[in-house]
Amino acid sequence: MFLLGAAAGAAGMSLRGGAEREAAVRAAAFQVATQQQLARVEQACGAQVRAGSTDPAAVAGLVSAQLRDSLATLEARTASSVANLGENAKAPNPARGEDADSEGNLENVVLAQKLLDDAVSVRRWTPENRERMRTFLASMPASERDQIMVSMAHHVNLGELVPTDSQPPY
């Protein structure tokens, strides 16, 4: 999750799309693994047919085994893809004057965005939400923190985020 958050932060995209970025990374990994899975199943079935086997149970067993292998591959590739993106994203960009310390904890960016999205979906901002958000905000890059807080303010102004205890939302 941390690495995914790092990828999301470095992408420089709108924080609003945190969940979308996560879904995109997973979807890409799933697509690659699925294509490879189909190719393996086709190859294996073709070999069975060429060998003259017509036993449905044997074919079913083969397909099942291939699916199990593919699932394991899918999980590994998903983790690997996310990790690679995260490692690339964590590299500081000297052109922007970044250093390793200024990066902060990018996982909190994704968590904070999810917290905000969830709260907006129910139009409620509870004291527990506020405390969790403060924790997330306390450890994330300044630019991302500013974007999330401005986004919060905008939702407050639109009436989409209503503090349940009539206290400031931050």
Partner: protein, 131 residues
């Protein structure tokens, strides 16, 4: 003797009230409830802190808070009017953070936002605003 003391005390009290009333009148004390102009996307919130604090509806408040961190300072201003409607803005602009630091426990505060970002913060302290 007792009645004389009571008479003098009452006279002193009336005198004090008259004096205070005169000061208030002469000073032109300014009260303003929390109010908004513009829209939810771009507008301004304003009000005097004393008025909000002492409002009978118990809903009103207006404030700005400044947060300092190792990665920079930011200011968050929020208000709630008598109807319970919130308005808020956030900025890490040094000039706005500095302005917010000029607030006292009374005075007049206004902040202007655009899509949640503060574009202006105005702090007014002066003799017209009683603590």
């Amino acid at each position: 003797m007792k009645s004389m003391n009571r008479f003098m005390a009452a006279g002193a009290l009336v005198g004090a009230l008259v004096l205070v009333a005169g000061v208030v009148k002469a000073g032109g004390t300014y009260y303003a409830p929390v109010s908004y102009s513009g829209t939810a996307t771009a507008g301004t919130a304003s009000g005097t802190l004393t008025t909000a604090r002492n409002s009978s509806d118990s809903n009103q408040w207006i404030l700005c808070s400044v947060t300092g961190s190792t990665t920079g300072n930011s200011v968050q201003c929020t208000a709630q009017d008598a109807a319970g409607t919130f308005r808020s803005c956030v900025s890490s602009a040094a000039s706005l953070v500095q302005t917010a630091l000029g607030m006292t426990s009374y005075g007049h505060l206004s902040f202007t936002w655009s899509s949640g970002a503060c574009t202006q913060i105005k702090v007014t302290n002066g003799s017209r605003f009683l603590p």
